[in-house]
Protein backbone atom coordinates (compact mmCIF):
# COMPACT_ATOMS: atom_id res chain seq x y z
CA UNK A 1 0.00 0.00 0.00
CA UNK A 2 1.28 3.50 -0.92
CA UNK A 3 1.69 6.29 1.61
CA UNK A 4 -1.56 8.12 2.25
CA UNK A 5 -1.75 11.78 1.29
CA UNK A 6 -3.76 14.50 2.95
CA UNK A 7 -3.75 17.33 0.41
CA UNK A 8 -4.63 20.94 1.15
CA UNK A 9 -7.70 20.23 3.20
CA UNK A 10 -9.75 23.03 4.70
CA UNK A 11 -12.48 22.67 7.27
CA UNK A 12 -14.54 25.33 8.99
CA UNK A 13 -17.39 25.23 11.50
CA UNK A 14 -19.12 28.58 11.12
CA UNK A 15 -16.44 31.19 11.75
CA UNK A 16 -14.04 28.71 13.34
CA UNK A 17 -11.31 27.57 10.98
CA UNK A 18 -10.01 24.14 12.01
CA UNK A 19 -7.87 23.45 8.94
CA UNK A 20 -6.73 25.85 6.28
CA UNK A 21 -5.06 24.02 3.38
CA UNK A 22 -3.47 21.43 5.64
CA UNK A 23 -1.32 18.73 4.05
CA UNK A 24 0.45 15.74 5.49
CA UNK A 25 1.56 12.19 4.70
CA UNK A 26 0.75 8.99 6.53
CA UNK A 27 3.46 6.39 6.17
CA UNK A 28 2.17 3.06 5.04
CA UNK A 29 2.90 0.01 7.19
CA UNK A 30 4.08 2.13 10.11
CA UNK A 31 2.80 3.81 13.24
CA UNK A 32 2.06 7.51 12.69
CA UNK A 33 1.48 9.54 15.83
CA UNK A 34 -1.06 12.34 15.69
CA UNK A 35 -0.08 14.87 18.28
CA UNK A 36 -1.74 18.07 19.43
CA UNK A 37 -3.43 19.78 22.35
CA UNK A 38 -7.19 19.69 22.89
CA UNK A 39 -8.97 21.68 20.21
CA UNK A 40 -6.07 21.39 17.77
CA UNK A 41 -8.24 19.48 15.28
CA UNK A 42 -7.27 15.85 15.98
CA UNK A 43 -10.85 14.63 16.20
CA UNK A 44 -11.85 16.60 13.11
CA UNK A 45 -8.96 15.15 11.11
CA UNK A 46 -9.84 11.62 12.20
CA UNK A 47 -13.51 12.15 11.30
CA UNK A 48 -12.46 13.41 7.87
CA UNK A 49 -10.22 10.37 7.35
CA UNK A 50 -13.01 8.03 8.49
CA UNK A 51 -15.41 9.66 6.03
CA UNK A 52 -17.77 10.76 8.81
CA UNK A 53 -17.40 14.36 7.66
CA UNK A 54 -16.39 16.02 4.42
CA UNK A 55 -13.65 18.57 3.94
CA UNK A 56 -14.73 21.96 2.60
CA UNK A 57 -11.77 21.88 0.23
CA UNK A 58 -8.84 19.62 -0.54
CA UNK A 59 -8.43 15.94 -1.09
CA UNK A 60 -8.39 12.80 0.98
CA UNK A 61 -8.79 10.64 -2.10
CA UNK A 62 -6.06 8.20 -1.15
CA UNK A 63 -8.30 7.11 1.75
CA UNK A 64 -11.19 6.28 -0.57
CA UNK A 65 -12.13 2.60 -0.55
CA UNK A 66 -9.78 1.86 2.34
CA UNK A 67 -11.18 -0.52 4.90
CA UNK A 68 -10.81 1.23 8.26
CA UNK A 69 -10.80 0.10 11.83
CA UNK A 70 -10.83 2.31 14.88
CA UNK A 71 -10.69 2.72 18.61
CA UNK A 72 -12.75 5.86 19.02
CA UNK A 73 -12.21 8.47 21.69
CA UNK A 74 -15.26 6.96 23.44
CA UNK A 75 -15.56 3.18 23.63
CA UNK A 76 -18.70 3.01 21.45
CA UNK A 77 -19.68 -0.45 22.67
CA UNK A 78 -23.19 -1.89 22.52
CA UNK A 79 -24.03 -2.04 26.22
CA UNK A 80 -26.47 -4.93 25.90
CA UNK A 81 -23.99 -7.14 24.12
CA UNK A 82 -21.28 -9.11 25.86
CA UNK A 83 -17.58 -8.33 25.39
CA UNK A 84 -17.42 -11.28 22.99
CA UNK A 85 -20.47 -10.16 20.98
CA UNK A 86 -19.18 -6.60 20.66
CA UNK A 87 -16.12 -7.99 18.92
CA UNK A 88 -18.09 -10.54 16.90
CA UNK A 89 -20.38 -7.77 15.63
CA UNK A 90 -17.66 -6.19 13.48
CA UNK A 91 -15.33 -9.03 12.51
CA UNK A 92 -15.46 -11.14 9.36
CA UNK A 93 -17.21 -14.51 9.70
CA UNK A 94 -13.84 -16.15 9.09
CA UNK A 95 -12.60 -14.94 12.51
CA UNK A 96 -13.29 -17.89 14.79
CA UNK A 97 -14.74 -17.92 18.28
CA UNK A 98 -11.39 -19.22 19.55
CA UNK A 99 -9.54 -16.27 17.99
CA UNK A 100 -11.85 -13.79 19.68
CA UNK A 101 -11.56 -15.60 23.02
CA UNK A 102 -7.77 -15.71 22.71
CA UNK A 103 -7.55 -12.00 21.87
CA UNK A 104 -9.76 -11.00 24.79
CA UNK A 105 -7.74 -13.31 27.02
CA UNK A 106 -4.48 -11.75 25.83
CA UNK A 107 -5.56 -8.33 27.12
CA UNK A 108 -6.69 -9.73 30.46
CA UNK A 109 -10.41 -10.10 29.74
CA UNK A 110 -10.56 -13.89 29.89
CA UNK A 111 -13.04 -13.86 32.78
CA UNK A 112 -15.23 -11.12 31.31
CA UNK A 113 -15.89 -12.57 27.87
CA UNK A 114 -19.62 -13.18 28.45
CA UNK A 115 -20.24 -10.13 30.62
CA UNK A 116 -22.45 -7.42 29.10
CA UNK A 117 -20.45 -4.31 28.23
CA UNK A 118 -22.54 -2.25 30.65
CA UNK A 119 -21.13 -4.27 33.54
CA UNK A 120 -17.50 -3.73 32.57
CA UNK A 121 -15.22 -1.13 34.14
CA UNK A 122 -13.83 1.76 32.06
CA UNK A 123 -10.50 0.03 31.53
CA UNK A 124 -12.15 -3.25 30.54
CA UNK A 125 -14.42 -1.48 28.04
CA UNK A 126 -11.37 0.22 26.55
CA UNK A 127 -9.70 -3.15 26.03
CA UNK A 128 -12.82 -4.60 24.40
CA UNK A 129 -12.87 -1.63 22.02
CA UNK A 130 -9.19 -2.24 21.23
CA UNK A 131 -9.62 -5.98 20.58
CA UNK A 132 -12.62 -5.21 18.38
CA UNK A 133 -10.51 -2.82 16.31
CA UNK A 134 -7.54 -5.17 16.10
CA UNK A 135 -9.56 -8.20 14.99
CA UNK A 136 -11.53 -6.30 12.36
CA UNK A 137 -10.32 -6.39 8.76
CA UNK A 138 -8.54 -3.15 7.89
CA UNK A 139 -6.04 -1.33 5.69
CA UNK A 140 -5.68 1.52 8.17
CA UNK A 141 -6.32 1.45 11.90
CA UNK A 142 -7.01 4.58 13.94
CA UNK A 143 -6.21 4.34 17.65
CA UNK A 144 -7.51 7.38 19.50
CA UNK A 145 -5.93 7.22 22.95
CA UNK A 146 -6.42 3.44 23.05
CA UNK A 147 -4.72 2.91 26.42
CA UNK A 148 -6.64 5.59 28.27
CA UNK A 149 -7.72 4.50 31.75
CA UNK A 150 -5.41 1.47 31.99
CA UNK A 151 -3.07 0.98 34.96
CA UNK A 152 0.65 0.78 34.15
CA UNK A 153 0.92 -3.00 34.38
CA UNK A 154 -2.12 -3.65 32.17
CA UNK A 155 -1.07 -0.88 29.79
CA UNK A 156 2.33 -2.49 29.13
CA UNK A 157 0.71 -5.87 28.54
CA UNK A 158 -1.90 -4.34 26.17
CA UNK A 159 0.69 -2.23 24.30
CA UNK A 160 2.84 -5.33 23.72
CA UNK A 161 -0.18 -7.15 22.31
CA UNK A 162 -1.12 -4.15 20.12
CA UNK A 163 2.41 -3.84 18.72
CA UNK A 164 2.35 -7.49 17.65
CA UNK A 165 -1.17 -7.26 16.23
CA UNK A 166 -0.41 -4.15 14.16
CA UNK A 167 3.06 -5.08 12.94
CA UNK A 168 3.39 -4.05 9.29
CA UNK A 169 0.01 -2.26 9.34
CA UNK A 170 -0.68 1.42 8.83
CA UNK A 171 -1.59 2.94 12.19
CA UNK A 172 -2.66 6.41 13.29
CA UNK A 173 -2.07 6.69 17.01
CA UNK A 174 -3.45 9.63 18.94
CA UNK A 175 -1.70 10.10 22.26
CA UNK A 176 -0.42 12.80 24.57
CA UNK A 177 2.13 10.41 26.03
CA UNK A 178 5.37 10.20 24.05
CA UNK A 179 6.48 7.16 26.08
CA UNK A 180 3.37 5.37 24.82
CA UNK A 181 4.31 6.38 21.27
CA UNK A 182 7.83 4.97 21.78
CA UNK A 183 6.47 1.70 23.14
CA UNK A 184 4.23 1.50 20.07
CA UNK A 185 7.36 1.90 17.96
CA UNK A 186 6.03 5.03 16.28
CA UNK A 187 8.33 6.48 13.65
CA UNK A 188 6.41 9.47 12.35
CA UNK A 189 4.73 12.34 14.13
CA UNK A 190 2.10 14.66 12.73
CA UNK A 191 2.09 17.58 15.10
CA UNK A 192 -1.04 19.66 14.67
CA UNK A 193 0.48 22.34 16.91
CA UNK A 194 2.85 23.13 14.01
CA UNK A 195 0.02 24.34 11.81
CA UNK A 196 -1.27 26.86 14.35
Amino acid sequence: MKNLQIQNISKRYGDTVVFDRFSSTLHSGEVNVLFGASGSGKTTLLRLIMGLEEADEGSLSSFDNLQLSAVFQEDRLCNNLSAFSNVKLVVEPSVSTEQIRAALGAVGLGDAIRKPARELSGGMRRRVALVRALLATYDLIILDEPFKGLDDLTKNQVIAYTVEATRGKTVILVTHDMEEADLMQAKHVINLEDIR
Binding site: G51, L52, Q67, L68, A70, E74, R76, C78, S82, S85
Partner: protein, 256 residues
Protein backbone atom coordinates in the same frame (compact mmCIF):
# COMPACT_ATOMS: atom_id res chain seq x y z
CA UNK B 1 -27.64 -12.11 32.16
CA UNK B 2 -29.28 -8.77 32.74
CA UNK B 3 -30.13 -7.18 29.45
CA UNK B 4 -32.47 -4.85 27.65
CA UNK B 5 -35.16 -7.07 29.14
CA UNK B 6 -36.81 -5.55 32.06
CA UNK B 7 -36.62 -6.56 35.65
CA UNK B 8 -39.91 -6.68 37.54
CA UNK B 9 -40.65 -3.57 39.50
CA UNK B 10 -41.25 -5.05 42.93
CA UNK B 11 -42.65 -1.76 44.20
CA UNK B 12 -45.68 -2.13 41.94
CA UNK B 13 -46.29 -5.80 42.76
CA UNK B 14 -49.78 -6.72 43.95
CA UNK B 15 -49.63 -8.61 47.26
CA UNK B 16 -51.98 -11.44 48.20
CA UNK B 17 -52.80 -9.90 51.60
CA UNK B 18 -53.85 -6.66 49.92
CA UNK B 19 -56.15 -8.49 47.48
CA UNK B 20 -57.68 -10.53 50.31
CA UNK B 21 -58.25 -7.39 52.37
CA UNK B 22 -60.06 -5.67 49.51
CA UNK B 23 -62.17 -8.78 48.86
CA UNK B 24 -63.04 -8.79 52.57
CA UNK B 25 -64.09 -5.12 52.41
CA UNK B 26 -66.17 -5.85 49.29
CA UNK B 27 -67.86 -8.85 50.99
CA UNK B 28 -68.59 -6.75 54.08
CA UNK B 29 -70.13 -3.87 52.09
CA UNK B 30 -72.21 -6.31 50.00
CA UNK B 31 -73.50 -8.03 53.16
CA UNK B 32 -74.28 -4.68 54.80
CA UNK B 33 -76.24 -3.49 51.74
CA UNK B 34 -77.96 -6.86 51.38
CA UNK B 35 -79.13 -6.09 47.86
CA UNK B 36 -77.57 -8.19 45.08
CA UNK B 37 -78.94 -5.85 42.45
CA UNK B 38 -76.78 -3.00 43.77
CA UNK B 39 -73.66 -4.84 44.83
CA UNK B 40 -73.11 -8.54 44.52
CA UNK B 41 -70.70 -10.25 46.93
CA UNK B 42 -67.36 -11.61 45.65
CA UNK B 43 -68.44 -15.10 46.64
CA UNK B 44 -71.55 -14.87 44.44
CA UNK B 45 -69.41 -13.53 41.58
CA UNK B 46 -67.10 -16.53 41.86
CA UNK B 47 -70.06 -18.92 41.91
CA UNK B 48 -71.52 -17.22 38.83
CA UNK B 49 -68.16 -17.28 37.10
CA UNK B 50 -67.90 -21.01 37.74
CA UNK B 51 -71.42 -21.55 36.35
CA UNK B 52 -70.53 -19.56 33.24
CA UNK B 53 -67.20 -21.38 32.88
CA UNK B 54 -68.83 -24.75 32.38
CA UNK B 55 -70.90 -23.51 29.42
CA UNK B 56 -69.57 -23.60 25.86
CA UNK B 57 -70.97 -20.18 24.99
CA UNK B 58 -68.79 -18.58 27.67
CA UNK B 59 -65.61 -19.78 26.00
CA UNK B 60 -66.95 -19.00 22.53
CA UNK B 61 -67.60 -15.40 23.61
CA UNK B 62 -64.08 -15.09 25.00
CA UNK B 63 -62.62 -16.58 21.82
CA UNK B 64 -64.74 -14.27 19.66
CA UNK B 65 -63.74 -11.06 21.45
CA UNK B 66 -60.14 -12.04 22.10
CA UNK B 67 -59.40 -13.02 18.51
CA UNK B 68 -60.77 -9.75 17.16
CA UNK B 69 -59.17 -7.42 19.72
CA UNK B 70 -55.82 -9.24 19.59
CA UNK B 71 -56.04 -9.15 15.78
CA UNK B 72 -56.50 -5.38 15.87
CA UNK B 73 -53.57 -5.07 18.29
CA UNK B 74 -51.15 -7.09 16.18
CA UNK B 75 -52.22 -5.39 12.96
CA UNK B 76 -51.71 -1.95 14.54
CA UNK B 77 -48.32 -3.06 15.87
CA UNK B 78 -47.19 -4.15 12.42
CA UNK B 79 -48.46 -1.04 10.64
CA UNK B 80 -47.31 1.30 13.45
CA UNK B 81 -43.76 -0.08 13.23
CA UNK B 82 -43.74 0.19 9.41
CA UNK B 83 -45.06 3.76 9.55
CA UNK B 84 -42.39 4.65 12.14
CA UNK B 85 -39.62 3.25 9.93
CA UNK B 86 -40.87 5.17 6.88
CA UNK B 87 -41.36 8.36 8.91
CA UNK B 88 -37.79 8.09 10.21
CA UNK B 89 -36.50 7.57 6.69
CA UNK B 90 -38.70 10.16 4.92
CA UNK B 91 -39.68 13.41 6.62
CA UNK B 92 -42.57 13.80 4.18
CA UNK B 93 -44.20 10.60 5.45
CA UNK B 94 -43.96 11.85 9.04
CA UNK B 95 -45.55 15.17 8.06
CA UNK B 96 -48.25 13.32 6.12
CA UNK B 97 -49.08 11.05 9.07
CA UNK B 98 -48.99 13.75 11.76
CA UNK B 99 -52.62 15.04 11.36
CA UNK B 100 -54.36 11.62 11.44
CA UNK B 101 -52.22 10.42 14.36
CA UNK B 102 -53.03 13.55 16.37
CA UNK B 103 -56.72 13.25 15.48
CA UNK B 104 -56.89 9.61 16.55
CA UNK B 105 -55.18 10.42 19.85
CA UNK B 106 -57.55 13.30 20.60
CA UNK B 107 -60.85 11.65 19.57
CA UNK B 108 -62.92 9.84 22.24
CA UNK B 109 -63.36 6.08 21.68
CA UNK B 110 -67.17 6.41 21.77
CA UNK B 111 -67.09 8.91 18.84
CA UNK B 112 -65.05 6.49 16.78
CA UNK B 113 -67.33 3.58 17.61
CA UNK B 114 -70.47 5.45 16.60
CA UNK B 115 -68.85 6.82 13.43
CA UNK B 116 -67.37 3.49 12.49
CA UNK B 117 -70.66 1.64 12.91
CA UNK B 118 -71.86 3.53 9.84
CA UNK B 119 -69.12 1.98 7.69
CA UNK B 120 -68.20 -1.32 9.33
CA UNK B 121 -70.27 -4.34 10.33
CA UNK B 122 -70.53 -4.79 14.13
CA UNK B 123 -68.63 -8.10 13.94
CA UNK B 124 -65.48 -6.28 12.81
CA UNK B 125 -65.89 -3.20 14.95
CA UNK B 126 -63.65 -4.30 17.82
CA UNK B 127 -60.84 -5.17 15.38
CA UNK B 128 -60.94 -1.67 13.97
CA UNK B 129 -61.30 0.14 17.30
CA UNK B 130 -58.50 -1.83 18.92
CA UNK B 131 -56.39 -1.11 15.83
CA UNK B 132 -57.12 2.62 16.05
CA UNK B 133 -56.29 2.88 19.74
CA UNK B 134 -53.04 0.95 19.45
CA UNK B 135 -51.71 2.46 16.20
CA UNK B 136 -50.68 5.96 17.41
CA UNK B 137 -49.07 4.57 20.57
CA UNK B 138 -46.97 2.09 18.60
CA UNK B 139 -46.12 4.60 15.89
CA UNK B 140 -45.08 7.38 18.28
CA UNK B 141 -43.04 5.19 20.62
CA UNK B 142 -41.21 3.26 17.93
CA UNK B 143 -40.40 6.45 16.03
CA UNK B 144 -39.06 7.98 19.25
CA UNK B 145 -37.02 4.84 19.85
CA UNK B 146 -35.47 4.90 16.37
CA UNK B 147 -34.68 8.59 16.77
CA UNK B 148 -32.99 7.97 20.11
CA UNK B 149 -30.58 5.42 18.61
CA UNK B 150 -27.05 6.32 19.62
CA UNK B 151 -25.50 8.17 16.66
CA UNK B 152 -22.03 7.24 17.85
CA UNK B 153 -22.84 3.55 17.60
CA UNK B 154 -24.17 4.12 14.08
CA UNK B 155 -20.91 5.88 13.15
CA UNK B 156 -18.97 2.96 14.61
CA UNK B 157 -21.00 0.57 12.44
CA UNK B 158 -20.36 2.80 9.42
CA UNK B 159 -16.59 2.81 9.96
CA UNK B 160 -16.44 -0.96 10.48
CA UNK B 161 -18.85 -1.53 7.57
CA UNK B 162 -21.16 -3.65 9.70
CA UNK B 163 -23.75 -5.25 7.39
CA UNK B 164 -27.25 -3.68 7.45
CA UNK B 165 -28.89 -6.78 8.92
CA UNK B 166 -26.52 -6.73 11.91
CA UNK B 167 -26.95 -2.98 12.37
CA UNK B 168 -30.72 -3.38 12.55
CA UNK B 169 -30.60 -6.39 14.87
CA UNK B 170 -27.87 -5.37 17.29
CA UNK B 171 -27.88 -1.57 17.24
CA UNK B 172 -31.32 -0.29 16.23
CA UNK B 173 -33.39 -3.06 17.83
CA UNK B 174 -31.68 -2.97 21.19
CA UNK B 175 -32.27 0.78 21.35
CA UNK B 176 -35.87 0.64 20.10
CA UNK B 177 -37.05 -2.34 22.14
CA UNK B 178 -37.43 -0.52 25.49
CA UNK B 179 -39.70 2.00 23.70
CA UNK B 180 -41.57 -0.81 21.95
CA UNK B 181 -42.05 -2.71 25.21
CA UNK B 182 -43.41 0.34 26.97
CA UNK B 183 -45.79 0.95 24.02
CA UNK B 184 -46.99 -2.68 24.23
CA UNK B 185 -47.57 -2.37 27.96
CA UNK B 186 -49.80 0.72 27.50
CA UNK B 187 -51.47 -0.35 24.25
CA UNK B 188 -52.42 -3.89 25.31
CA UNK B 189 -54.65 -2.67 28.13
CA UNK B 190 -56.01 0.25 26.17
CA UNK B 191 -56.78 -1.78 23.04
CA UNK B 192 -58.51 -4.47 25.04
CA UNK B 193 -60.68 -2.00 27.02
CA UNK B 194 -61.54 0.03 23.90
CA UNK B 195 -62.40 -3.15 22.00
CA UNK B 196 -64.83 -4.29 24.70
CA UNK B 197 -66.36 -0.77 24.86
CA UNK B 198 -66.88 -0.96 21.09
CA UNK B 199 -68.64 -4.31 21.49
CA UNK B 200 -70.94 -2.91 24.18
CA UNK B 201 -72.01 -0.18 21.74
CA UNK B 202 -71.98 -2.22 18.51
CA UNK B 203 -73.35 -5.42 20.11
CA UNK B 204 -71.83 -8.03 17.78
CA UNK B 205 -73.56 -11.32 18.49
CA UNK B 206 -71.71 -13.69 20.82
CA UNK B 207 -69.14 -11.18 22.03
CA UNK B 208 -68.17 -10.36 25.61
CA UNK B 209 -69.53 -6.85 25.02
CA UNK B 210 -72.93 -8.25 24.14
CA UNK B 211 -72.93 -10.46 27.27
CA UNK B 212 -72.11 -7.42 29.38
CA UNK B 213 -74.89 -5.42 27.75
CA UNK B 214 -77.44 -8.20 28.23
CA UNK B 215 -76.49 -8.44 31.89
CA UNK B 216 -77.04 -4.69 32.25
CA UNK B 217 -80.46 -4.76 30.53
CA UNK B 218 -81.72 -7.59 32.75
CA UNK B 219 -80.08 -6.05 35.84
CA UNK B 220 -78.17 -9.30 36.23
CA UNK B 221 -75.49 -7.88 38.53
CA UNK B 222 -73.68 -11.18 39.22
CA UNK B 223 -73.29 -11.67 35.44
CA UNK B 224 -72.06 -8.10 35.01
CA UNK B 225 -69.42 -8.54 37.70
CA UNK B 226 -68.45 -11.99 36.43
CA UNK B 227 -67.93 -10.73 32.86
CA UNK B 228 -66.03 -7.70 34.13
CA UNK B 229 -63.76 -10.03 36.09
CA UNK B 230 -63.22 -12.06 32.92
CA UNK B 231 -62.24 -8.89 31.03
CA UNK B 232 -59.73 -7.95 33.74
CA UNK B 233 -58.22 -11.45 33.88
CA UNK B 234 -57.80 -11.66 30.09
CA UNK B 235 -56.35 -8.14 29.93
CA UNK B 236 -53.71 -8.90 32.60
CA UNK B 237 -52.98 -12.34 31.13
CA UNK B 238 -52.67 -11.02 27.56
CA UNK B 239 -50.25 -8.31 28.68
CA UNK B 240 -48.15 -10.74 30.70
CA UNK B 241 -47.92 -13.27 27.86
CA UNK B 242 -46.97 -10.68 25.21
CA UNK B 243 -44.38 -8.97 27.43
CA UNK B 244 -42.85 -12.27 28.55
CA UNK B 245 -42.54 -13.41 24.93
CA UNK B 246 -41.02 -10.07 24.02
CA UNK B 247 -38.43 -10.33 26.80
CA UNK B 248 -37.49 -13.82 25.63
CA UNK B 249 -37.07 -12.59 22.06
CA UNK B 250 -34.85 -9.74 23.32
CA UNK B 251 -32.65 -12.13 25.30
CA UNK B 252 -32.30 -14.39 22.28
CA UNK B 253 -31.46 -11.49 19.99
CA UNK B 254 -28.74 -10.19 22.26
CA UNK B 255 -26.67 -13.32 21.76
CA UNK B 256 -24.38 -13.10 18.77
Amino acid sequence: MISTSFANNKKGTIRIWSVLLWLGIWQLVAMTLGQDILLVSPLDVMIRLFDLGITGSFWLSIGYSFSRIAGGFFLATLIGVLFAIFSYRYRLVEEFLAPPMQTIKATPVASFVILTLVWIAPQNLSVFISFLMVLPIMYTNVLMGIRSTDKKLLEMAEVFRVPTYRRIRYIYLSQVLPFFRSACSVALGLGWKAGIAAEVIGLPQGSIGEMLYQAKIYLDTPDMFAWTLVIIIISVWFEKIVLTLLDRVVLKMEHL
